[in-house]
Amino acid sequence: MSIPFRQETFRDDFTYRNSAEAVRRFPFPFPQDAYMYSVNIEPHVSVDPGSVYEHTFDIDEHYIAECEDRAITLGKTKNRFLALPHMMDAQWDTLELLMTSMARDYPDLFALSRDGAKWHWMNKPLNIDQHFVFGDTRTLPYAPLEYISRQGQGDFILLDQREGNLWVDAGVVTTQADWSLAFDVGMSFNEWHGPVPMAAEIGVFDRALKFLLMLQHGAPVRRLNWTMTINPRLDTSPEHYDQWGPDRASVTPENVGAKVHLRVEVQTLFRLPRSNGVLFGVRCYLASLNDLVTNPAWGQRLHRVLRDLPQPLAEYKGLVRYRQTAVDWLKQFDQSHS
């Protein structure tokens, strides 16, 4: 299973594109014609060979380019990796989980050999050959969480569990939909989700928290979330809102199909064995409207979802400025106009 990695960018000239195969396996997030916020948690088990759910951490054609984009973001802005001091065990837990999963699921790309605490990690796509001592930070060029996140797709957030709550106490966050790790680090689960409208009122987060406090090692779960992004930009952080905010005003009926992207997060949650923390993986998939309408069912459904989305959610997701343009354009793919 060799993956043809693409050379592409997620900023400046935005050369990111999806192959037909990447569109085919895109995690289209709408099971119905209308969208409501919900917990929608399911076991993170391997299903549908070839799908984004086949492996614990999906590696796709964008892998190398995403790692390069993350390195740029980590190099340019501070506080995109943060870890409170008590999170070191959870950092090592995460490194172990990623390395063992990636080596198991993609043996032609990654290899891990272990002799007690002496580990040898090989990452062929990124040309990394690393000997290190597990548990000894001096033997890695970065902190363990940063080290392994630089070799993974999507963001990795570590939650500490104490006082009957989960706390956002570490993370590498460079592919986020408009939230700031620098600002949110140290928050409880509810404070972290504080700004989400409507969901709080219907108790979604209280139920999700109760569920996650009971999460068992070896029984990870996943859920989907979505928003939209103008241009295939991974780093839509509040820190750089001044750079990507103007893009929202750049959508026209002529460019909407290429510029407006559905941004789907496959969120995975794992109980970590030593720290009893939780790893929260947020893997971002981007597809342009042009990509999506190659599947007639998706074009029709996306038209209906966007058209009928409650205004507070549209505001929260930042869609207000271009939603109508997108709906008008998508209408041609919804023949029955129901």
Partner: protein, 197 residues
């Protein structure tokens, strides 16, 4: 991003101070001399030894309810010297100690931080807002901290951007988030209003 019309759950609410009878010793930090809040607290006597750190004159009339021989009142001219004194006071054992802070929001969270640093838990620390609702603000673009912001929109003294002051609050930073209000339409700044008197 937009100005939200619903309550953000990270936004603190501040019940008024009440002596915690489970405490063995009590430390009250008065950041702003607010006569009404002090009078309300003193409707019941403090259940144990009490020490007070106050910013301002120890002879201020608001402190009359504490004019008893067994209450130590230390007075400080500035926030900085007061916080240093608090940190020193907390350096000794905090077993059985209850910390109370009264005043503006920025100072409250500095006191909270000092308490947490020595291992005090959330329920051993009480914070009550008084005298002003002026907000501490953290600029999400440049990381600059500002204090006592009374308006919905303020100019960042670090990067000069016009920031909308959100309700989203970080207890660790002790500040509300400010983000550029005109990023999507440069130069278009809504009316500036005093909303945090």
């Amino acid at each position: 991003m937009s100005a939200y019309t619903y309550r953000v759950r990270s936004q603190p609410n501040y019940p008024s101070l009440k002596w915690d009878v489970s405490g063995a010793r009590h430390l009250l930090v008065i950041l702003d001399l607010d006569t009404n809040s002090i009078a309300e607290l003193c409707r019941s006597p403090c259940p144990g030894p009490l020490e007070i750190l106050v910013r301002g004159e120890a002879t201020h009339p608001a402190l009359i309810p504490f004019n008893k021989a067994n209450i130590l009142i230390h007075s400080f001219a500035s926030m900085d010297t007061l916080i240093v004194a608090l940190e020193n006071a907390l350096d000794q054992t905090t077993m059985g100690l209850r910390l109370y802070a009264l005043g503006h929001e920025d100072g409250l969270w500095k006191c909270n931080k000092a308490g947490q640093k020595v291992g005090m838990s959330r329920d051993e620390i009480q914070l009550a807002q008084a005298s002003t609702t002026g907000r501490p603000v953290y600029c999400v673009h440049c990381g600059h901290h500002m204090n006592l912001i009374h308006t919905n929109i303020t100019v960042c003294t670090g990067c000069k951007r016009h920031l909308l002051v959100r309700d989203h609050f970080s207890r660790l930073l002790g500040a509300y988030m400010g983000f550029q209000i005109d990023a999507e339409s440069p130069g278009l700044i809504p009316a500036v209003e005093e909303v945090f008197p």
